[in-house]
Amino acid sequence: MLITRRSLLHSGLKVGVATAAVAALPRPLLAQLGRTLEPLPPIEDPRLKALTARALEAARSAGASYADVRLTHERVRVFSVSTRVDDSESMLAGVRALVDGYWGFASSPVWSPDEMARLAREAVHQAKTNTLGKPRAVDLAPTPVVAEGHWEMPLAIDPFETSPFEISDFLDSLIVYLNRTPNAKINSDSCTAVVQERAFASTLGSYCTQRCYRTAGAFSFERELEHGQRGSTYLDCLTAAGMGWELYTAERIPRVRDHTLYEEIDRALEELKQDLLLPVKAVEVGRYQAVFDPVTVAGILDETIGRATELDRALGYEANAGGTSYLNDPIAMLGSYQAGAPTLTVTAERSEAGAVGTVKWDDEGVAPDAFPLVKNGVLADFQTTRESARWLEAAYTKHGIPMRSHGCAAAPSAVFAPLQHTPNLTLAPGHDARDFDSLVSGIVRGIAVKSGSVDLDFQHSSGLGSGRLYEVKQGKRVARLAGGFLFRATDLWKSLQALGGEGGLRRYGLSAMKGEPAQEHYHSVTAPAAVVKDLTIIDPLRKA
């Protein structure tokens, strides 16, 4: 019998269950929880605990002083160009073991008691081969035992319980809507939904499971006006979020968008039109007062404060990969280093609802806390794990800060060893209720930057920015500029003059690469619009 879209839709209309069945992924992956293979149960099934216990026992008896084990079951569904749906599914297991200050790790795609034991022995073996070297000390920061925990990221619409027809029809409707505007054309259009179930157990006695979601989309398009002016833009309200299908269908999402997606398309089309009607000018190289929109601020914040306050990076643990940090003496700098103007306060957390880096427990079984990275312009703390928190003990004692991991251990899946990754970041807004446009209206002569992105050097200090640049005169954007900007991280934040208010905060899901082997990790950055003085504007295409 041939299955057709029509027959599936038909049955889906008649019986709700059938729609869910259509959506169902190849669920019967098998795990060997006892003697035989059986369909993979949901992550909260208590028998999985026995599987993880097998790994911990084996690691202990092989000589590990500490071990943890992670199981991940991930499903990914990608809708692209409105015609195709790609599904992928993976189950992975990883065991990490600590022997005399050296870490070993082993991972594979098999969930079985024998494999748990093998991975544990292999992880211990990997660690032991390096204990032949000079002594190394690891003193894990204390953390409360999570005796038995289960958490599910709250979401309104589970994309995997929603018919893929419904989703692709909705995505189509966005294009149909766009096409009502003459000479508007879609450039890229996709939606990715991910659900990852995770189990974690450690020799500390912790056992916890969680189900986390990530949904993200791309919707970019171009438009041509009557007189041939052409340009392109995208919806920046679809970056990765710790949400479900409601990322698309919700009327509004606090800190993400205040309007429906259709209205967002209208707004973006109108903004593009206004842009294209502005004249294009060559830049006059120099220093200007500048207004950044929230997405630009979020990108700069992430690449400067976000990367530089990774403690392992600051101490040289990433020197052979992504690089180091301009915060090169963490113990001395914590509590005294002037990272920016007194109005700069940046907090980190992994608990905000809807943020993409949100979890209940990190990949070391630690419940993350909210902590300041920069407080009133002064460097207040670093991103840490159980191992790295201890490196700051002297500074924590001096400043009366409790010594604990901030819960920043993470990895894309259990095939990767946990690494410190950036948590969700929030730049505290200003007190006045101002947004990008009202900040621009206060500029007599300067620059405005929208949809900016920045490249930082390998110490996250010197940056080159690009984006949509505008000349601002008497509070109005009067021309588009073919330019870019140069900055130093600390100078830029010290030159901060004003921040947009609470109502103008916007949250974006970003990802960053780190480690060898490289891992990609997602986190959210929430920021308002901002005004800085003395921003160096250049013509990026000009050679020396």
């Binding site: 041939l2 299955i3 057709t4 027959s7 169902a24 190849p26 019967p28 992956l29 098998l30 293979l37 015609t83 195709r84 749906v85 790609d86 599904d87 599914e89 189950m91 200050g101 050296y102 070993g104 790790f105 082993a106 991972s107 594979s108 795609p109 494999e115 292999e122 992880a123 990997q126 390096n130 070297g133 000079k134 190394r136 893929p164 101490l315 040289g316 990433e318 020197a319 052979n320 990969a321 180091t324 090169n328 095939v415 990767f416 060893a417 490249d455 930082l456 050097d457 390998f458 200090s461 010197s462 080159l464 130093r488 060898e516 490289a518 990609e520 295409l541 000009r542 050679k543 020396a544």
Partner: protein, 499 residues
């Protein structure tokens, strides 16, 4: 030692192939296992049409160190089975799983069929193509036992031997050693006639090794790097890499600030390959013919496809220094080329003349009366000369010696003008000698300008170019064999703080 082989049945009989998980001793999938998986998937298909399976597996042994101590040693492996069902009256659907027991495969096939049914319209990849000539795959050895058998103990020993000299001098070293081995296979149920059969490739085993090291002084005032990747671990000499990274760190300490401007540059091979990556991504013929990129010459009024004008390209014109030939040879194992449906040697630049741009088979059939694609510069060799870096230095009045570039970004597709940073060792050369270490600079330059400003060329060598380097996503990374070179008037536009 090849991966263990198991006895496999040849029939399509489902019962002959028992349900199984990845066995503990099976670090990568054998040919028999892969073929059995493919047969199972084909047998499970319902509703007619074509089934296309991609099967991959990998194992990695890794060691990472920083601050002179190993921070992680790991052994990892995974499997990926991609199943595409193409049902002519419906559409096509893709499902990927990392499990290959019977139930998982069946569920994946059913899911792919549901996806096919949910597709908006029947799609068929380029209907009516003549059969593609069967590819002849060169028997290139991209498998190295020395890579596959490199143990955790060996990696630990090597790391200690690299750490000790750096630590003895009071420096901080960080580095990474990796063995990577895997298998891949792509096969269609309708081989050789089905639409997907044209992208079939046979089962192949491959290896890749890499070793790299960064040495920094305690104050962060100097940094040196060296690294190499190859399919064959034996062709990597960790001791010499370690010595080079250490020497570069020592020599790069306390750099002086140099004014941005135009300088004669002596680029070590790694720096040349870093910059050449921008060119690799620009070599698509269809882009040139639609007026994009650096290889479009002028609009040709006589040529139109539909409403679209066709541009004349620079094919056949001398575009770079006539000492430069850049080619691709799938039989050169140093390029680590995995089998593709169609493989052949290609010369992209012949003594400075642009001779080939890459294209797909569809394009070849439509525009060139040729029934095969042409491969791009993924894996290339660049010709050189005989001048050593030392001789380049000795013959330079004033210039800069560059170890490597980082964070390269293309600014202008038409000229390939790009920007990026120097990293891990930059020196001023004056009167034939290295005179002082220089603070890192941002450049704004086109690799095409560099290839037209060459003064001297050295002997081409393989460089650090692991096939998958996640840090450089914007521009495809590709194994390369390139010479060091000296070029005039290279444009540096600002100083940067990072060391």
């Amino acid at each position: 030692m090849r991966a263990r082989t198991t006895s496999g049945g040849s029939a399509l009989d489902r019962r002959a192939e028992p349900r199984r998980l990845l066995a503990a001793e099976e670090r990568i999938l054998t040919k028999d296992t892969c073929e059995a998986i493919a047969r199972r998937v084909f047998a499970l298909a319902r509703g007619g049409g074509e089934t296309f399976v991609q099967i991959g597996s990998w194992t990695r042994g890794e060691l990472r160190w920083a601050r002179n101590r190993v921070s992680l040693a790991s052994d990892r492996r995974d499997v990926e089975i991609g199943i595409r069902r193409f049902i002519p009256s419906a559409g096509e659907g893709d499902v990927t799983t990392n499990q290959f027991d019977d139930e998982s495969l069946e569920a994946a096939v059913r899911a792919a069929e549901r996806m096919a049914a949910s597709a908006h319209a029947p799609v068929r990849p380029t209907p009516g193509l003549p059969p593609q000539p069967v590819g002849t795959w060169p028997k290139t050895a991209i498998w190295s036992d020395s890579t596959y058998t490199m143990s955790a103990d060996t990696r630990g020993e090597i790391a200690r031997s690299l750490i000790d000299p750096a630590e003895a001098k009071g420096y901080l070293s960080a580095g990474y050693i990796e063995m990577h081995a895997g298998t891949s296979m792509r096969v269609s149920s309708e081989r050789p006639a089905g639409p997907y059969a044209v992208v079939d490739v046979p089962y192949v085993q491959w290896t890749q090794a890499q070793c790299s090291m960064t040495v920094r002084d305690q104050q962060g005032a100097g940094s040196g790097w060296a690294g190499l990747s190859s399919y064959d671990w034996q062709s990597i000499d960790p001791a010499s890499l370690g010595a080079r990274a250490l020497q570069k760190c020592e020599a790069s300490r306390s750099p002086v600030v140099l004014e941005p401007g135009r300088y004669t540059v002596i680029l070590e091979p790694q720096a040349v390959a870093d910059l050449m990556r921008v060119i690799v991504g620009s070599m698509r013929r269809i882009d040139a013919e639609s007026g994009g990129g650096p290889w479009a010459l002028a609009m040709d009024d006589a040529l139109r496809i539909g409403d679209s004008p066709v541009w004349r390209t620079k094919l056949g014109l001398k575009v770079i220094d006539e000492r430069i030939t850049i080619d691709h040879d799938p039989a050169d194992p140093r390029l680590g080329i995995l089998p593709e449906p169609w493989m052949e040697p290609v010369t992209f630049f012949d003594k400075g003349v642009l001779t080939n741009l890459f294209y797909a088979r569809d394009y070849a059939l439509a525009s060139l009366s040729r029934n095969a694609p042409r491969r791009g510069m993924w894996g290339y060799r660049m010709s050189g000369g005989t001048t050593s870096v030392d001789e380049m230095i000795a013959s330079t009045q004033r210039g800069l010696l560059v170890t490597r570039f980082s964070d390269i970004r293309e600014l202008d597709a038409g000229t390939l003008l790009s920007t990026g940073l120097t990293r891990d060792g930059l020196w001023l050369v004056e009167h034939g000698k290295i005179s002082k270490a220089v603070k890192n600079l941002r450049f704004t330059e086109s690799p095409l300008f560099m290839l037209n400003s060459i003064e001297q060329l050295g002997v081409p060598v393989p460089v650090f170019r692991p096939v998958r380097d996640a840090y450089e996503q914007q521009i495809p990374l590709t194994p390369a064999i390139v010479p060091p070179l000296k070029a005039r008037d290279f444009s540096f536009t600002s100083t940067i703080d990072a060391i």
